[in-house]
Each structure stands twice: as structure tokens, then as C-alpha cells.
Symmetry: C2
Subunit: 429 residues, 2 copies
């Protein structure tokens, strides 16, 4: 007999079927036992008559044969009247460190992450990563349809792309190397290599000492880079279109999981834009908040998110025109104000989920900019040399996948949106 998945049982009323899964809940009434069986597709009630059944504990893996019987009182409107129950794989614990079968796991985040295999079995937690995979799938589908080629670039690199000391060193044979902070250099080089439009779903590494609810030291970066652009507004336009596509497709691909988190997605429409200068003026006027020139801190992001939501109804806001001093060396300066760059951030519900912008494509300009930044052009040989060989105007952006997932599902901590998060204290599990 072939296995039936739990979600397909309701199409087989009257038949005898074979189920596999985990024991999610047990209610023993003596001559009658009710099991809730869990497989990757859902939960189903199993009724066992008589006392002749194997000793079952929560999370035991079982094989169940039985008849599908309608029952309007239970989830899914069918239950299984079991004729045979066998243990496939037993358990060896004294007690479960967390309640897999709770509606919401009550244990703290540390317990949830320490016992990740168990917390992921909880149906609500399970759903987070189904949604995340659909986000990633939508990202790939959208950009492929726009003529982008997917790439995989190296994560062992000789230099950091984003400046700063926030690099993890790797002992690479007799050399010292680093983990890539971003695929920045490589995605630009792939545009320059004639692929013109590229995207990547890959890990990025930041050795940041931040221990907040929104920082991960290893995260999934959804990267985009495209050539032959007019300016950074082309980039914001395509990210805006992607988000509209995402929000239209997720209800189809994971509507149940969104509902489980009480999320209803509305078309983001045309995302409003504010320059950093305008945003600072607004923060001062509305909230009396004064920031150093060019800076938007985490509290300011929250205030701006709230303000824009109230005024326009939008959950999103593009911040534009960051000063040169706040952006990496490769950021393209504005023609009419060389102290500002053609760059942007995207806030979602008051949290930065994207940084992007147009890049410098002139060898001479990039070379001189490195000197102005106090960098040695020779340290960036292969990257800088690229621009000797004809590179079109280009730019791109990156979306933090876990942050997008977190904001979309209104999770309290970005670690909840990472299968096995890496932070200051955590390299296991």
C-alpha cells in the first residue's frame, strides 16, 4: 500500500490508507485512544479501539493503517479508524524540552533555538520556513522573468567589499582569507562579464558585535545587480515591482501559513520616497529628534515607518540620497551634489531590509575615490581592473531574507526567521 499524506486523506473517505508520521498528541480513554498524527502536510485524528496497541510516547514515529471516516467535529473533517499501528522509530528522552504540540511554544527563544529540531516540528514554527522558501522562490521567478541570470559567487574572499573591520577571518591553507560580507564585487563583475542582469541567493557574513533582535552574523542575502540603468530610480522601480509580485503570489503559495500568523498582504502600490535630508527634517519637526548629518538610526527608522504608515498607508519607504561618508567607496556620487550618493535604503514596517544604489563604473573615478577614502587601489586589483575593460552604468541592491520574513510575519526576533541562526553566542546547533 502506498503512503497517503495527511492532507490527502479527506479525498479518500471510505478507503483504507497507510499513514506515516509523528505522534503529536495522545488521549488515552482506556478502551479508546485518540492520537493526533503529524506529517509534513498536516495533522489528523486517529482513533484506536481496544487496549492492544504499542506503548506510544509523544514524537514516536509510527506507521498507521486504517479507514478514512468523516467526522465534522475534527480539523480536516475526517479521522482515521486505525486497524494497525506500528512503531517505526522510537524515542529515548526523559522529558521533551519544549511542547511541540503547543499552539504557541511558551518556552523562551533560547530553548526554542537550542532544541531547533523540536521547535521546527511545531506547526506554527514549521510555517515560517515554508513562507521563507516561497519568498525565495518568488524572488527567483520574478527576476528570471526579467532576464536576470542566477549566479553563485565565492564566499571565501581576499578582501572585504563593504569596508570596515567586520570580517570573519578564515585560515585558507597558508593564506589569510575572509568570509564575504556581500557578493558586491562579484555581482558587479558578473554584470561587467556580459551577463548584464544577475541575482544571487546566498549567505553573507558580518562579524558585527551587535546583539539585537534584528542582527544575524550569517544571513541569506537576496542580491540583484543590473547593467544599462539610467540611475538608482530604475533599481527602486524594479524592487517595487518585485514586492508587488511577491505580495500577490504569497497568498496563493502559502495562504494557510500567512493566515496562521494573521497576516493579510495588500498590494504595496508605488512605494513613497524620502531623501535622507527630508527624513531628518521631518524627524526634527514631528518628533523633535535630531541626528548627525546623513544618519538614520534604528529609532528613526521606526518613527519614519510609523509616520509614513499613518500618512500614506504604506508599510514601505525608500530613503534616498545618503551622503558619501555613509556609503561604501563604490557608491556613485550625484552629479549635482558630489557629497551625496545615488543610493537608497528600503524600510519595511520601520526596519531597513534593503541597501542599494548605482555604482561607479568609471575606472578613473573609482581609482580616485579609493585614494580619497584612504584605500590602496592595489588592494582591490582584480575588482578595480574590471573597470578598464568597458563596464556599463549599473547598480543593484540586496534584501535581507530573514528580515523580510520577520517583518512580513511580524516576528519579534530575526533569529526566529533563521533555521539555525548564528550570533555572538551561537554556533550550534
Amino acid at each position: 500500500m502506498d503512503r497517503t499524506l495527511v492532507r490527502d486523506a479527506r479525498h479518500k473517505i471510505g478507503s483504507r490508507i497507510l499513514l506515516y508520521g509523528w505522534v503529536h498528541r495522545i488521549r488515552d480513554l482506556g478502551n479508546l485512544t485518540f492520537l493526533l498524527l503529524r506529517d509534513r502536510s498536516g495533522l489528523i485524528q486517529v482513533v484506536l479501539e481496544g487496549k492492544d496497541r504499542p506503548a506510544l510516547r509523544l514524537e514516536t514515529v509510527v506507521r498507521i493503517e486504517g479507514a478514512v471516516v468523516p467526522n465534522d467535529q475534527v480539523q480536516g473533517r475526517v479521522e482515521i479508524h486505525a486497524t494497525k499501528v506500528e512503531v517505526v522509530s522510537d524515542v529515548e528522552y526523559d522529558h521533551l524540552p519544549l511542547a511541540v504540540n503547543a499552539g504557541v511554544i511558551k518556552e523562551g527563544l533560547d530553548t526554542i533555538l537550542n532544541h531547533r529540531v523540536l521547535s521546527l516540528r511545531n506547526p506554527k514554527v514549521h510555517g515560517i520556513f515554508l513562507v521563507q522558501q516561497e519568498i525565495i522562490r518568488a524572488f527567483r521567478d520574478f527576476f528570471r522573468a526579467q532576464g536576470f541570470t542566477e549566479i553563485q559567487t565565492p564566499k571565501i574572499v581576499a578582501e572585504g567589499a563593504e569596508g570596515g573591520a567586520e570580517l570573519f577571518p578564515v585560515k585558507y591553507f597558508k593564506k589569510r582569507a575572509y568570509l564575504a560580507q556581500s557578493p558586491q564585487f562579484y555581482k558587479q563583475m558578473m554584470v561587467a562579464a556580459g551577463y548584464e542582469r544577475v541575482f544571487e541567493v546566498g549567505h553573507a557574513y558580518r562579524a558585527e558585535l551587535h546583539n539585537t533582535n534584528r542582527h544575524l552574523n550569517e544571513y541569506i542575502s537576496l542580491d540583484v545587480e543590473m547593467g544599462f540603468i539610467q540611475d538608482e530610480h530604475d533599481l527602486m522601480a524594479i524592487e517595487n515591482e518585485f514586492l508587488r509580485y511577491l505580495f500577490s503570489t504569497l497568498p496563493e503559495t502559502c495562504g494557510e501559513e500567512l493566515a496562521c500568523y494573521g497576516v493579510e498582504l495588500a498590494d504595496p502600490g508605488a512605494i513613497p520616497k524620502l531623501s535622507v535630508g527630508e527624513a531628518q527634517a521631518l524627524l526634527k519637526k514631528e518628533y523633535g529628534k535630531i541626528l548627525p548629518p546623513g544618519s538614520i538610526d534604528a529609532e528613526a527608522e521606526k518613527l519614519l515607518g510609523r509616520y509614513v504608515k499613518e500618512k500614506t498607508g504604506s508599510d514601505f519607504l525608500f530613503l534616498t540620497g545618503f551622503p558619501v561618508s555613509k556609503r561604501p567607496v563604490y557608491a556613485m556620487p550625484m552629479e549635482d551634489d558630489p557629497n551625496l550618493t545615488k543610493s537608497f535604503d528600503l524600510l519595511y514596517k520601520g526596519l531597513e531590509i534593503t541597501t542599494g544604489g548605482q555604482r561607479i563604473h568609471s575606472y578613473r573615478m573609482l581609482h580616485d575615490k579609493m585614494l580619497a577614502f584612504g584605500l590602496n587601489p592595489e588592494d582591490f586589483g582584480f575588482y578595480l581592473d574590471t573597470f578598464k575593460y568597458g563596464v556599463p552604468p549599473h547598480g543593484g541592491f540586496a534584501i535581507g531574507c530573514e528580515r523580510l520574513t520577520m517583518q512580513l510575519l511580524n516576528l519579534a526576533n530575526v533569529r526566529e526567521a533563521s533555521l539555525f541562526p548564528r550570533d555572538l553566542d551561537r554556533v550550534t546547533p
Copy 2:
């Protein structure tokens, strides 16, 4: 005027169009100049009349307006009679380190890899990574359709999964960590976490000192893991089905690129299987080759590949039943011969492209096996603990993406199938 891609010009005969791209070739006949323009979609001939044109060098990025005119003598059967040519982005080189416009780049592999942005512009090289992306896409599409969930697991890990000392150490704040040799522990844990069937496209790291034509120190691993299997033959069956799907879909998605490499893909059919014991007997009988018990070396792989091709016509061969001593601690032993494991390799044209097998799912068996292997179970705490909480029979395999690409396109060196390969000597570009 909107940009037209080169490949779409033939649908616009008689129209005036706008093209962007790189100068691939120049033939200057005084009053008449022939350019070959290259964009991401292909090559097209551009005819310029008169001497009034900007100074153009190879690889200059240009903007061209002109009329689409039929010409049966050229590739694509149309050419552009240019009315306007502008330089979008200039070049600054003394001489090109390699001939981008050669049919086959004549410079050696080191030059090709040192100047990767230029070698990737070569249309034939460009095609390798279009094929590779279609392999990856087909992998995802196939396994998703089979009910698998895509996962992204951490590459910064506390312990190696595959044993041995071939790990790259990472300085992780005050701790020592490593780059993951494979997602082995994590993909098993995701099966155990109730996702049951998972796949991953991610980097894997091997600090191997091999400097051969088939080793990379950072590579793309196409990983699969599935629960509720009967034995390792279920795994070989699904990999076989994937390869049949792949070979049927690639001619549709990248037929031109395959043709450029002279590759015609035939249905792999049912892939033959040989046990390691049978393979060793055959090698001895046919080639007088004697190997240590359980070993199949690189030369043996080639001989077996050739033998099976001659006898059955198959480019593929499953090798089964590797001894315990040749497999990691997590390999499931055979019931009828505990010195052998339920494991397999897949050879493609005489090169191993896959290792797989059923895993141990019993806590007690795995614990005792660790002791027998001289490992300390406490070092594998979070992995080993997983098996206390009910784990179904499961197994999986991994396909080396660059090796599959290399063998499929008959490339001489696996580095050709990596955008920016990492090897003993190479961390740049």
C-alpha cells in the same frame, strides 16, 4: 526609444531600433566599418557608413541606433545600418590579456581564470554558466515537484560532518569554528524536524590538498535528504529520475549552448548498478587492476566508466555497498553484512559526481558507532540528541554541481565550471 536585445532584432526588420552592448569585433574599411556588437543575448553585425564615428576599441560599451536590414550572409540573418553610435563607457587598457572574440580562447587556464570578467565575455565560456544555472533550476523544479522543501543551512559550524581534518578554520569572535564540509547534519536534522524531504543548493568547503582537474575547495553542492525510505535503492531511484528529467529539459532550456559544446543528451534510462565487490572483481579480470579492499580510485572510476559505456551504452554507473571503513560514521550498515553500508556513489563518464546512502536513525546505534569510530559522542551533542526524539528511516545524497557541469559539457577541468574557483593557490579574483 526602448532598448532591443540583439536576439530580438530579427523580429523588427525595417524598424529603427536602439541597441546597447560591447564592441566584440571591428573591421574598418575606411568609408565603411563593420562592428560585431555583443549583448547578453548574442551577437549582431552593425554597419557604419562614413568616417564620422567615435574612436572605438574592442570591449567599449556603446549605444547604437539603426535600421534592421535583412542579410542572409550573416549570423541571425539581419544586420543593423547604424545612424548613431555613442560611447557609453570607455576602455582604459593597453592590450587585452585574452581574445574575448576568439571562437575558443587560446590562452591557458590560469590566464582565463585571472581575467575572469573577460573570459566570461567570450560567448562559448558564457554558455557554461547558462547551462549550470539551468541544471540548478531543473534540480529545484524536480525536487519541489516531488514534495521537497528547499532549505538554507549554516556554513559556519562547530564540527565537521564528514570526519577527517579537511576543515577550514574560522575565527568566530572568541570561538573557533569551521566552514561546513557539507550540510549533512543539518539536512538530516531538517528531515527529523518534520520537513521530511528537503533539498539545498549551497556552498560546501573542503580543505583538501588535492590539486587535480576535478577538485575545488569551495563548490556548489546539490543536496537531497528524504525520510520514510525503505533503503538506499529509493535514493538511487529518485536521483535516476532526476537525471532523466534533467536530460529531457536541458535541450529545451539551453539547446544552443549544448550545441555549442557539441553535446547531445540521450535519456539515461535505468542506470546500471555494481557493488564495490563486483567492481573490484571486474577491474581485476578486465584490466588486471588490484585495489585495496573497498577502494575505488580515480583510475578505477575511469575504467569502470569506460567498461559500462561499452557494455551497456550508459554514461552513468551506481557503485553500491561501500565498506564501513570507507564511509562516515552516520552511514547505515547492511543488515546481512555489518561491514558494508547502505551507501552508493554515482559515476558520470568515469567521474564520481554523487555520494549518498541511508543514514543511521537510531540514537543507540549512532551513539555506539561513534564510540567504535573513536569519536566522542559529546562532541556531536546537538546532532546526536536529535535521534532521541523520533527520527524516521532516511537518507540522501549530494551532487557536485561543477563536476556535473564539467562532465556534461566535456570540459577538461572542473575550474572551468566555477565562476570564481577556489583552489590551493587561488582566492582571487
